[in-house]
């Protein structure tokens, strides 16, 4: 029963298979992001109260979504690495950390830029913004742990435990605007209800969110592939890949 699972865990199998997906995934990502950006920034109507400044939502919300979802990817990969000692899972965990940190940073910066014209301030220490800053530090903590051990196994174990402990922050970020009084408004897009946004504005946002998911998958695969080559550099199949590329 577990056989497919173990084959999935083979770095060599993943490297060869993912190579076939990359052009497709790259093309779809590029298309979705271009369509979403032009539609959202150029053609969606402006907001009655906020005017054009609301358009930063087309970057802010997708980046925040993936910053949160990406943490689950990192933590679950860490758990799989801990339990099954799967090499590929450890590499995915390591590759997800800088990507998640970058997306969290984008979410925080676009949020600050959006906050100035609407709220009247770049930054406020409310529950949503503070917990998002904690998320950035968690990602940076995993990155730091990866580099602070000479043994790869020890680094993987420590980062996986930190990822798992930090997972508790994700529902806190998500629910912070409902649990406490915050300056940040509650969620526009919910899984259980219709979005509180006009369809003309919501459709390009949806395209951007799907586009960001594809972008995340693309960059995660690229990061993981380079990590595979690095960690398996002594194996003969990697030497063959490198020799083939040189020819």
């Amino acid at each position: 029963m577990w056989q497919w699972f173990h084959r999935l865990g083979s770095p060599r199998w993943f490297y060869q298979t993912s190579g076939k997906w990359l052009p497709w995934l790259g093309g779809i990502t590029f298309l979705l992001l271009i369509i979403g950006l032009v539609w959202g920034l150029g053609f969606a109507p402006r907001d009655a109260k906020q005017g054009n400044s609301f358009r930063i939502i087309y970057i802010h919300v997708p980046a925040s979504f993936l910053a949160l979802a990406g943490y689950y990817v990192m933590a679950i990969a860490g758990a799989v690495g801990l339990i099954w000692k799967m090499k590929l899972a450890d590499m995915v965990m390591k590759s997800a950390a800088p990507l998640g940190a970058a997306l969290t940073f984008v979410a925080l910066v676009t949020g600050a830029i959006w906050g100035k014209p609407t709220w009247g301030t770049y930054w406020v220490w409310d529950a949503r913004i503070t917990s998002m800053l904690v998320l950035l530090f968690l990602y940076m903590g995993v990155m730091a742990l990866q580099h602070s051990y000479t043994s790869v196994d020890a680094a993987n174990r420590a980062s996986a435990v930190l990822s798992l402990v930090g997972m508790v922050n994700i529902p806190i970020i998500y629910k912070s605007v409902d649990w406490w009084y915050t300056l940040h408004q509650p969620a526009t897009i919910k899984f259980t209800e219709a979005p509180t946004m006009h369809p003309d504005m919501f459709h390009p946002l949806l395209v951007m969110i799907v586009g960001f998911y594809c972008f995340y998958a693309l960059v995660l695969i690229l990061n993981t592939r380079s990590e595979i080559l690095h960690r398996e550099r002594r194996s003969s199949w990697v030497k063959n890949v490198v020799l083939q590329n040189q020819r």
Binding site: A48, K49, I57, I83, P117, W119, Y181, L183, A187
Partner: protein, 152 residues
């Protein structure tokens, strides 16, 4: 069937997640009042907010309560949470989105009279996004409904 060592490690992972959630859950529960960004007007009216200390208050700006001085940037308004109202005094520039019927968060101190002397006013916008034409149409429909209620 999972092998026993892996099952043991799986339980360890579950234990880490549950223990961390419990610890953080208890911590945030204990600190729940400190995590709130601002006091709602009903807490201030009930005397739960300390006077003479820098705090934040937040609520909806009451319709028709905004009074501006003609010779300075002084402005006076009421914020409400539906139960109580707090009077806010502020001298300075208000954010663009500050409006009656919208929420605002003010930073400052309560004086002895229970007036909130604000040094900063932030506008809190809601999670609804509407194109201008749709918003105008909705307002017009709302006014028509209001008129027919008044007439009858």
């Amino acid at each position: 069937m999972m092998n026993p060592i892996r099952r043991q490690r799986l339980f360890l992972v579950i234990f880490i997640v549950v223990a961390a959630s419990l610890a953080v859950g208890l911590m945030t529960y204990a600190l729940r009042d400190n995590i709130n960004l601002f006091y709602p007007p009903s807490d201030i009216a009930a005397g739960e907010a300390p006077p003479g200390v820098r705090i934040r208050a937040g609520g909806m700006v009451v319709d028709g309560s905004v009074e501006r001085a003609s010779d300075s940037l002084f402005v006076r308004f009421l914020v409400t949470d539906g139960e109580a109202e707090v009077e806010v005094h502020y001298t300075g520039i208000l954010p663009d989105l500050f409006a009656t019927g919208e929420a605002a968060v003010v930073t400052g101190e309560l004086n002895e009279q229970g007036v909130f002397m604000a040094s900063e006013v932030l506008a809190k916008h809601d999670e609804n996004y509407t194109p201008p034409e749709v918003a105008d149409a909705m307002n017009a429909a709302h006014e028509r409904a209001q008129q027919s209620v008044d007439e009858s």
